[in-house]
Every structure is written in C-alpha cells, then in structure tokens.
Amino acid sequence: MLQLEGFLQALNAGLLLGAHYGLMCVGLSLIFGVMRVINFAHGDFMMVGMYAAFHIFTLLGLGALLGEGAGPYVAALLAAPVLFVLGYLAQRFLVSRVTGTRVGNLEGEGHYAQLILTLGLSLILQSGGQILFGSVPVSVPSELSSEAWELEFAGGALVVFVNQARAWGAVVAVAIVTLLVLLITRSRTGKSLRAAADNVQAALYMGIDVDRAHRLTFGLGVAITAVAGGLLASSYPFTPYVGLEFVIIMYAGVVLGGLGSTVGAFWGGLLIGVIQQCSALLLPTQLQNTAIFAVFLLVVFLRPQGLLGRVSERT
C-alpha cells in the first residue's frame, strides 16, 4: 500500500510540475517553430517574468487586494504583457537582424549569429538582473504553496496530497495552451504565424507581413514562458540565475515533444515532469535529472522527430 501511495504521489507531483514545464516549453517551441531561432536566452526571459510577477504582486499590493491565494496567479498573468513588449522589442531591434528575410546573406542561415546573439542576451539579462534585483532569493508570497487537498483512498489507508499552488498553476497552464492553440488554428493572426513558419517567401508573396509575424511570435513565446515562471515563482525562490536551472529542461521538452510542435512541446514538458518525479521511485534521488536525459536520448534514438514532430522537413 505504501508503494502504491508513493507511486500516486509521484505521478501527481510529476503531472502538476510537468504542466508548468510544458508551458515553458510551449513558449520556446513557438519561437523555434515559427522563426527557426534557438533562443538560448529563453530561461533568462523566464527569470525576468518571475521578477515581473514578483514586483507586480508587491507594487500593486495584490496580496492585500486579492489575497495570497489568487494574487500570485493574477501577478503571473499580468507579467505576460510586460514580457510580450520586452520580447517584441528584443525581436524588433536585435533578433530580426539575424532572422527572417535577412538571413540569406549570413553564414549558416544566420544560426551562428543567432546563437551568439541569444547567448549574449542571456548574459546581459543575468548581469542586468543581478544589478537591478540583487542576489537575495525571493518568491511571490502564496498561502497555497504549503496547502494541499488530501485525497483519501481505501478507507483512508492511502492518502495523496495535491499541492494547491501547483494544482491551480497547472490549470492556468492548460488554459493558456488551449487558448494559444485556438489562436494559432482559428484566428487570422494564427494563420499568418503558421504561414510565416511554413514558407517565408510564399507568405511574403501572399501579402503577409513576415517581420510582424516574427515580432508577435517572439513576444508571445517570451510572454508564455514568463507566465510559467510567474506560476512557479510562488513555490520556488529565484535569483537572476534561475533561468539556467530550467533552460535545459525546456530544450529537452521541446525536442521530446517534436521540434516546432506547440502541443507536442507541452506534452514533452509534461512527460519530463512525470519522469523526473517517478524516477525517484526506482533510482537514487540524485539521478532524477539523469533519468530525464536517458529517456530523452532514447526518444532521439528511436523517434528523432520527437513524439508529435513531423518526419519531413518543412519546405
């Protein structure tokens, strides 16, 4: 019975944490899928999102206004427009120089320049964060981060604790992914993003403003990951270097789900959360992240295009 309880507890923790990972991965995947940019600064944009949520929460007094239950979620959502603008501007003035229609003249289709640019952005965000926010870890106060719903089974012999902060965070994450999928598949803006992703030249001939599509994409990708960071910020103290702890997980999730597949990235992140938590049932806890990469390598070996990726390259 104890083993079953341990398994259910691990599965529950993995799913809840995985939903947060999934949302982070969706932001990264959107940028890669549409712009073909590997954004090494993505974890650091998430860090800025966490600080944005923290300062929105404290400056607007959301704790007093909405309580420490709902306040952190509203702060996380309000961080999205802030980071959207930051991402939009970063694409407009920096990333656009090495992407889109300009990459024809650049070596390696601009990928080398993109690599250096996003790594540079990452360093600037980290150092800027250190100067602006200092090195003392902070987190968004939440009364739910140590509260749980106790689910009893077998007459109380088996109890599963569902963390309330993580559970509500997972609900918000699923809602955002659903909205994003609807935006991409149903709206005119979404169609322009997909067109820009599939074939830049054809999209241009069809009158689509590809540069605008890229700006929207980068802003959206960064904003979505910022919300994921904001959701985590109530249960996870962070410093300006917190992005480094998540960026590898984001990449693993995106590749697992299938490069360029937005929904696949969410499932990839969710799977990573489950593997990370459930592996502790069989392996020493120190090997939690090793288990993630073992599965990652297995998927790359058996299904290189990822779980929901397409086999053929886009034209």
Binding site: Q9, A10, P137, N163, S235, P284, T285, Q286, N289
Partner: protein, 418 residues
C-alpha cells in the same frame, strides 16, 4: 569617519607587480606599522562584497564596523596609547581565485595591516590563507572546514568548531536535548541531505556513529540541489516515520520546498524534529520566501549565533542594519574585532608577528570571549579555538533562537512528545 574603511577591489598589472614585490617584502620584514596615521592600527576584513555572496559579506561588514566603532569609542588599544582601529575592507568576490587575488592585494597594498578576518566560505578562506600565511598576517575565521587548521599553518585562527567536530557531537547533543525535553531518547533517525561537501561531511559521522548511540537509520536520501519539487523526498520521510530527521540543506530554494512540503504533509512545526546544519535554515533571507510560522520548531547547528548577554549589541545591530537578528556572520566579525584588540593590547605593539604570537598565547574569558560559544578565547597549537563547539539554534516564535550551549541559550529547546 575613522575606523570605517572603504572597499578596495580591482586589479591592474602595475598593482599585481607591486603586489608581488610587496608580498616578498612583507614576508621578509612584516608589519612595522609604518605609513599609518599616528594613533591608528590597521585591521582588515576580507569578505565577499560583490557577486552572489555579497549579502553575507555585507552582514559581516556590518558586524565588524560596529565592533570597531565600539572599540574606538571605548578607548581603542590602551597599551598603544589608545590607538584606534582602522578597518579596511577587501572584496573577496564570488570565487576562490578572486578571494586569493583580493588577499594578495590586501597584503601587497597594506604591509602595515596587523590582522584580518574573513573570508565567509571555507573555500575562500582556504585560498586566502595561503597568501596571509606567507605574509605572516594573522587571520581570524568563522569558516568550518577541517582543513583550515590541519595544514600546519601558524597564522590562521579558527574561532568556530570544525565541520567534522560539529558533526561528531551533533547526534549525542541532540539525543540528550530530546531526552531532557521529553524524557525519551529518539531511537530512529532519517537522513535527508543535499550532496554539497559541507552537508555530506556533516552527515557522514552520523551515518557511521548512529548505531553506537542506539539509533537506527530508517531512511537515507541524498539529492542534488536545487530541487524542482520535494514531494518524493518528504513522502519517503512520511513513510519511514522517523523520530528525528537530519536535514542539512545549503540552498534556500530547497529549504523552502522541503519545509513547505513538510508542513503540507503535516510533518512540520516540530512534529518530526528536524535538524539542519549551517545558516541556510536560519538566515534572514528566508523571511522573504517562507512564512516564519512554518519554520517553527526547525533546528540548525551553526558555529556561532546571537546569545545570552549580547542583547545590547544585537539590538544596536538590528537598529543599524534593519536585520531581524544578528546571526553568525555579524556576531563573529564583531567578536573578531575584539579579539584583535585584545591581542594588540597583549602584544603591546602594532606588529603582525607580535599580534600572531599574542593570539597563540591569549586566554580570555571576558570581553571578546562573550561573543563565542564556550565563552573562552584560547587557541590550540593548530590555531583552533579550544572551546569552540556547535551552537544549536531553533525557530521559536518566528525567529531562530540559541538553545544550546546552556551558557549561550536564549530559550529552552522545544521537542514535541510523540
């Protein structure tokens, strides 16, 4: 204002060349007191003032500055004609290389320093003392590493108990405290540790010695920090039902995740008495990340802490810094300044060799001794303070209070009866 120094940092080639020459010069003819303003004696504080450890260095700086101010207000060093202490600050940065470079600049640019204190992390202290040892500059430190005073160095003085020694005595001390509070000795213990060097060296003697104390280890888990979720670990604690949990944690995010998860699972607030190591579980930064009520009952073992008889200084520190308590970083550097003053008084001259010799033979139970557990300052042949022992701190009424040793305790330990 006399006694409060400016931060000195930065390296140029010229400085390095001058430094190398001065290190050699200092080794040949150390500390003559030349080039000092009349009536002042230079002392140093080498701590991180930039980078990720800057916060801790600032606390150490605040303690030292208050110490120097008090000493100077109370007449300085009487045997030197009332000479005032002149504190110079050196930024150890955020790496061992930077700490060593800062130490080199310190001895090169200030051949008239008579003693210093530092350098926060044991790894910083180990590298900095390689420089101060060559320059024959006495250095006082709170760092825990066993290596600091087992290398045969003659100019380093460790005021805290070594990590290995702390670990060896922690289990019997905790068993005794539990028995005194509840009338029953815990018979089972769980170990949950991160895999940092200090945490592992803390739990190793407990793993090896538990059977000798009649204690059975019912769970032993090691994890790599930082955690992303603590559910599995606390589920294992819950399943193994220990009477006591040893949980040395060094990363603040892990403290939050583990403590909140323990509270979520109904194991917090002393229901499973939990003992950590070091200041991660008692530093004031925790207040920005976790409700203090959730820390209630948690215990940590440190090298020094706010203690009985220090109320006036603690209140002054809190008023000056806005900190909720003084903690080991502030109290230790405050005390170090007083040890330097007492050593200068005993030496009778502003000379680093004479100060080092005075430190080797000093034996005081008042004044500076008040700021260290064991209430005595006497160093053994290796430079280790003889009466140094662990300080047990427990969260009670929203703040960490010293509960052991008895002569320093500000409260009785609370231990829930099962």
């Amino acid at each position: 204002m006399q006694g409060i120094g400016v931060v000195e940092r930065g390296t140029t080639r010229r400085r390095l060349m001058a430094g190398a020459a001065a290190v050699a010069g200092a080794a040949l003819a150390p500390g003559s007191g030349r080039a000092q303003a009349p009536g002042t004696v230079k002392v140093g504080l080498l701590v991180p003032l930039s980078g990720i450890y800057a916060r801790f260095g600032q606390l150490m700086r605040m303690g030292a500055e208050i110490g120097v101010r008090h000493i100077n207000e109370q007449g300085g060093v009487p045997s030197l004609g009332g000479a005032k202490l002149d504190l110079h600050l050196f930024d150890a940065g955020d790496s061992t290389e930077k700490a060593k470079n800062a130490a080199q600049r310190m001895v090169a640019d200030h051949p008239d320093l008579v003693a210093c204190s530092g350098a926060y992390l044991s790894s910083f202290t180990l590298s900095a003392t390689e420089v101060t040892e060559r320059a024959e500059l006495p250095m006082l430190t709170l760092s825990y590493s066993d290596l600091i005073t087992t290398r045969g160095f003659r100019y380093v003085f460790q005021t805290s108990a070594r990590a290995g020694d702390q670990a060896k005595v922690t289990l019997p001390i905790m068993l005794d405290l539990a028995e005194k509070a509840t009338g029953k000795r815990p018979a089972t213990v769980a170990i949950l540790t991160d895999n940092t060097a200090s945490s592992l060296s803390f739990v190793q003697p407990i793993r090896e010695g538990s059977a000798g104390f009649g204690v059975k280890i019912v769970m032993d888990e090691t994890f790599t920090p930082p955690l992303s979720d603590a559910t599995q670990l606390i589920q294992k604690v819950r399943s193994s039902r220990p009477e006591m949990l040893i949980m040395p944690i060094t990363v603040i995010s892990d403290v939050k995740l583990l403590i909140e998860k323990m509270n979520e699972f109904g194991l917090g607030r002393g229901r499973v008495p939990t003992i950590g190591s070091g200041i991660a579980m008692a530093q004031s930064d925790l207040l920005q990340n976790i409700r203090p009520a959730q820390m209630e009952g948690f215990i940590t073992v440190v090298g020094n802490w706010d203690a009985k008889g220090q109320d006036k200084i603690i209140e002054e520190f809190k008023a000056a810094t806005g900190e909720p308590w003084m903690g080991q970083n502030g109290i230790a550097t405050y005390g170090d300044m007083w040890i330097m003053r007492d050593a200068l008084e005993k030496a009778g001259k502003s000379d680093r060799r004479a100060v080092a010799e005075a430190l080797r033979t000093i034996d005081i139970t008042e004044g500076a001794a008040l700021y260290y557990p064991g209430r005595r300052v006497k160093f053994d042949a290796n430079g280790l303070r003889e009466t140094a022992g662990p300080v047990v701190v427990q969260w009670q009424n929203n703040k960490p209070l010293t509960v052991y040793p008895q002569d320093s305790a500000m409260a009785e330990i609370t231990w829930l009866k099962r």
